[in-house]
Symmetry: C2
Subunit: 338 residues, 2 copies
DNA sequence: GTGAAAGCGCTAACAC
DNA sequence: GTGTTAGCGCTTTCAC
């Protein structure tokens, strides 16, 4: 059994309250007493029990993070940023993985909101359509921040990648490089991020007076095998496509590999741009031009905001700017070098 | 403020203990009462506060996980496995990232052991040389399981990849393919995993009566730029090396890219094998032969063991088999296809 | 400057 | 079957 303040009090012949105050450097406590307490605490290897302290103070010193998939490169990088911020503030991070299931997401939200954490960071699952679990959370006044996978149905702070601008920039880059018939490997239809990237594609075409051809929009649902199929199908029916924008790097890489196996030259015949700047982007041959969207920073900013809400710092909680866009950047590599 | 069992008791005109018992389906409680409590709990949107319950029961229903880096592919996959097991048992997972710092590791161990978690899963940092923080933990009887990055200085349960066997198998594969002068890109010298993989290399050479040449052992410390430098240096002094075993895939991939830029043909002139089966292994050209070591399963098994220790299930806590090796598997791709 | 006492939300031994 | 009481480890108001 671990040492408690009671044990220290007994050893010193004082009361637990004095020990508690001394450990918190309370101004009214005698310096000598403080020293004695500190020495004894060290000697007895005492560590304050934050769970008990938290129960009393209605705090947990924990934040909860719910993501679709922990092992995904993007999310594990955001987790790293979140952990960094929390650690500085002596907060612990509780992680949950929904596997893109709405029920799991609900379950975790309910579990965490029952006094487990002081605030929740959430990246919504692909399947999530109802937001009751989140409106309940807001009503309970539990700080909530959405990051990356957000929704416009909720009036909470959000940290997002520049999906629209990134998509626009990617496609504009293909146009700059001379592509005139550009296809897109799109993501899940109910995911706001995919939709925004797709809007970027459409607007870039429009602004450069290129026709929008629905047959060139291929929904791949973030699945590699789907990217392969769609690429084969696309180029068998439209062999004159000269540019491909994939809404993430996995699709882009799969597309490059498929194109090469079909005998197309990348980037000479077909240029390809991805989204995400995953490690594979540097490795594929030719190296993939892509949009870098800084997942670490997305996590970092989301965590900063929730810490702000928890400590009720000025101007961070909803009411002020409710959406923070993390800058994305075009990284030009050889997959568009023609 | 959230609903408490007291609120439910007041609403129903019974005592909090009755509510508590009803919610736990205590056999001696009247079925009618149970129903009434459940209905009222639902109506008032009650969620049991596990933190308070835990304080009383000396449990937290949390496990702590400490890893060098969350965003690393290997560790994020182990986290995923850990989370899966914990979730099934209604446990939460607290994650901490040491950034390979011994001080951070100590800090987290102390923070978590102060009543934060029921058990700790640790992958030790590259820098860790002292084990006082861990022996303290053991002395406090807090369940501890080491995974992947372990140490033989501690008598606790460990889950490891087959580093030695994997290294041996990788090198034997090169020998089978006809390589006779095989170099190794080795990892950090104080990391048991790198050392075991290196032992595998040495023993494979010995068993196949190939000479061990110290000049062919290149320490890269898991750094890609180091892998590049060492490869250049190695092949300028030993251009007749015909096989490279890299102790992880990042080094292997960097080595392939460097070799290609130097004008070597992979695999015809130089065959390369990696370790880890990272996503980049499939993408590099030629695709990398490598050792797959199942990080998800490593996390899964480690979590299963700690849950067992926490619930004091038979035969899981130290005393029985103290080391579990997760099978590794050679995956043959084109980087060794000659 | 320090102690006593109450209480955070819950559980469990002991009553009746 | 259900209520009363005490207590997990800590903080904090109110005394003195």
């Amino acid at each position: 059994m671990a040492t408690t303040i009671k044990d220290i009090a007994a050893a010193l012949g004082c009361s637990p309250s004095t020990v508690s105050r001394a450990l918190h450097d309370h101004p009214q406590i005698n310096e000598g007493t403080k020293r004695a307490v500190r020495v004894m605490a060290k000697k007895m290897n005492f560590q304050i029990n934050q769970v008990a302290a938290g129960l009393r103070k209605h705090k947990t010193f924990c934040i909860g993070v719910i993501v679709p998939s922990i092992s995904n490169y993007f999310f594990s990088s955001t987790l790293s940023g979140i952990q960094e911020v929390a650690s500085k503030r002596q907060y612990q991070v509780l992680i949950c993985q929904t596997n893109e299931s709405e029920e799991e997401e609900e379950r975790y939200i309910r579990a965490l909101s029952a006094g487990r954490v002081d605030g929740i960071l959430l990246s919504v699952s692909k399947a999530t359509k109802k937001y009751r679990h989140l409106t309940d959370l807001i009503q309970q006044k539990i700080p909530l921040v959405l990051f990356d996978r957000t929704t416009d149905k909720l009036d909470v702070f959000k940290v997002e990648a520049e999906d629209y601008t990134g998509g626009y920039r990617a496609v504009e880059h293909l146009i700059d490089k001379g592509c005139r018939k550009i296809a897109v490997l799109a993501g899940p239809e109910n995911l706001i991020n995919s939709q925004n990237r797709l809007r970027g594609y459409k607007d870039a075409l429009k602004d450069h007076e290129l026709p929008l051809n629905k047959a060139l929009i291929r929904v791949c649902d973030f699945s590699r095998s789907k990217a392969r199929e769609e690429t084969i199908e696309l180029f068998s029916t439209h062999p004159d496509v000269d540019g491909v924008f994939a809404v993430n790097d996995e699709l882009a890489v799969e597309s490059i590999l498929t194109l090469k196996s079909l005998g197309f030259k990348v980037p000479q015949q077909v240029s390809v741009v991805g989204f995400g700047n995953y490690p594979i982007a540097q490795i594929v041959d030719p190296p993939l031009s892509t949009i870098s969207h800084n997942p670490y920073l997305i996590g970092y900013k989301a965590a900063q905001n929730i810490m702000g809400q928890i400590h009720e710092e000025h101007g961070v909680s909803p009411g002020g700017e409710i959406r923070e866009l993390i800058a994305s950047e075009l990284i030009v590599r050889d997959s568009t070098n023609r």
